[in-house]
């Protein structure tokens, strides 16, 4: 659907079961979406650091209308998760199991996995409520 850009290392790492996120080599700022060049300090050095996939729910929605392909029947829950250990970068992902009831601020832990949609298996974080 979309060809990777500056975020190619994210996809490569995720496919290998690891979450990596970019941090500027010049000013140490966490970057997301990934960039080629830091607009703050002009550095072209982006360091991809391994990050533990833990965070808190920033927002969430339960999709009930069959928008997606047959691979992903509703209802399912999408989370937007804030990662305090990575500059509060927010990452998207599905919540497992689909009937779980999240809330804003809930602690979640993610695992690299895949989401099948449109006949493709897309590397993706799959989240669970922590505890």
């Amino acid at each position: 659907m979309s060809s990777p850009g500056a975020d190619l290392p994210y996809w490569t790492a995720l496919a290998q079961g690891v979450l990596k996120l970019p941090r500027c080599g010049g000013c140490s700022r966490w970057q997301w979406p990934a960039v080629w060049r830091c607009g703050e300090c002009s550095s072209w050095e982006q360091e991809w650091q391994q990050v533990e996939p833990r965070g808190t729910v920033y927002s969430w929605t339960r999709t009930c209308h069959p928008f997606a392909s047959e691979d992903l029947p509703p209802p399912y829950v999408t989370l937007l998760v804030e990662l305090p250990q990575a500059g509060k970068i927010r990452l998207l992902g599905l919540l497992d199991p689909a009937e779980a009831k999240p809330w804003i601020g809930a602690a979640v832990v993610g695992a690299p996995g895949a989401t099948r949609i449109g006949g493709r298996d897309i590397p993706a974080l799959r989240w669970r409520l922590d505890g």
């Binding site: 929605t61 999408t78 927010r90």
Partner: protein, 387 residues
């Protein structure tokens, strides 16, 4: 250089809107668009041969040069589009047309949007195609409703915006639509119980929190104010327009800073500064509501109310014509008049200021047009009867 807005330099001289049920347009997309453009020119009393420019938005697929044969145009001098896949660019299209006319690069510019499902598919799919990537797909996000739902939840839960506000907003659109013979909802008031119990689409949105699409096309003819005064209709002047995106907002994989907002705050500030007007000076408003919560967020961003007093402002009585403080979406808006990617809102702004609305606001001199909320690039404009 003097602002062409301050001197009333640019005017809308003609309008045309053709709207059909989704999948039921009598012609393919370009044919419907040509009809709307001919309507706008007939309204103005300007031959289509005089058109020399076009602007659209939202990834419209009708390249202006292809319209020339049907319109008998002599020369195309300006051909532009606002970047972005959503309705955020609708008001910015008027800014482009104004720039073309004020700088002498074109003299008669059509702002248009056309959408016929058999040609361009579903609008929601087309908008989303513009943004889709594997980050969204892997999270099951394939429709604008889902992204706006994530933002709406933050607005409700983290900024204390009461759920009652979105219900009031939807009721207002249907109240006006029920009284507009051209509206899809003509004759049908919103049944509040049906609203509250409608099926979930993407929580917290139920069915009637979401706009639904129509086939159709809209066209507005812009010319210099001097020229407009020689045409058939009372000119409606463009008093200001602002578009853009502030740092911390954009296509940021849901990392926008003011996440629960509609993205308008900095753009609205520029609009007020540029026009010398304030929210209190606006007498009627056409505010793009793709989803109910985003319509409320747009009103907050524009400064009509705040998170603290939104429930006092976004009330049915306060927003209906003719008696409300700010009659809103007086043709029914995207929810109830119909949804051709928001172009109907611009047409209604002009109808209202000409005194031709089905829900008139007598004596209204200013009308705000706010584009698609929550889009990476947003835009707003003010139209007026005088300057």
């Amino acid at each position: 250089m003097a602002s062409p807005f301050a001197s009333g330099g640019i005017a809308v001289a003609g309008i045309g809107l053709r709207q059909y049920k989704r999948g039921q347009a009598p012609l393919p997309e370009r044919g419907v668009l040509v009809r709307a453009i001919c309507d706008a020119c007939a309204d103005a009393g300007l031959p289509t041969t005089e058109i020399d420019g076009f602007v659209s938005y939202g990834d419209d697929r009708n390249e202006p040069v292809r319209l020339m044969p049907d319109l008998g145009m002599r020369e195309l001098c300006w051909s532009g589009a606002v970047w972005g896949g959503g309705g955020g660019g609708i008001a910015a299209a008027f800014g482009q047309a104004a720039a073309a006319i004020a700088s002498g690069q074109a003299t008669a510019v059509i702002v248009f949007r056309a959408l016929v499902q058999s040609d361009s598919g579903r609008l929601s799919g087309a908008v989303m195609q513009h943004h889709l990537n594997d980050h969204l797909l892997g999270a099951g996000l394939v429709a604008p409703a889902q992204l706006c739902a994530l933002r709406a939840r933050r607005m409700f839960e983290c900024h204390s915006v009461p759920l009652s506000t979105v219900e009031e907003l939807v009721r207002v659109s249907y109240h006006h639509g029920a009284r507009n013979p051209q509206a899809t909802s003509y004759g049908h008031e919103l049944d509040v119980e049906a609203y509250r119990s409608a099926r979930w689409i993407a929580e917290p949105f139920r069915l009637y929190d979401c706009s639904r699409e129509n086939d159709g096309a809209g066209a507005l003819l812009l010319v210099s104010a001097d020229r407009a005064r020689d045409l058939r209709r009372k000119p409606v002047y463009l008093l200001g327009v602002a578009q853009g995106t502030a740092r911390g907002w954009g296509d940021l994989l849901e990392n926008d800073e003011d996440y629960a907002s509609a993205g308008f705050r900095p753009v609205a500030e520029r609009l007020w500064q540029q026009s010398g007007l304030k929210p209190e000076d606006i007498e009627v408003a056409q505010v793009y509501e793709n989803f109910s919560a985003q319509g409320v967020a747009s009103l907050i961003d524009h400064g009509f109310c705040t998170y603290e007093n939104v429930a006092e402002f976004v009330r049915f009585d306060n927003l209906i014509a003719p008696s409300g403080k700010l009659p809103l979406n007086t043709a029914g808006g995207n929810f109830a008049e119909g949804f051709v990617h928001g172009i109907g809102l611009a047409v209604e702004a002009v109808r209202q200021l000409r005194g031709e609305s089905s829900n008139p606001v007598p004596g209204a001199k200013t009308c705000l047009l706010a584009g698609g909320p929550g889009a990476p690039t947003v835009s707003s404009a003010i139209f007026g009867t005088e300057y």
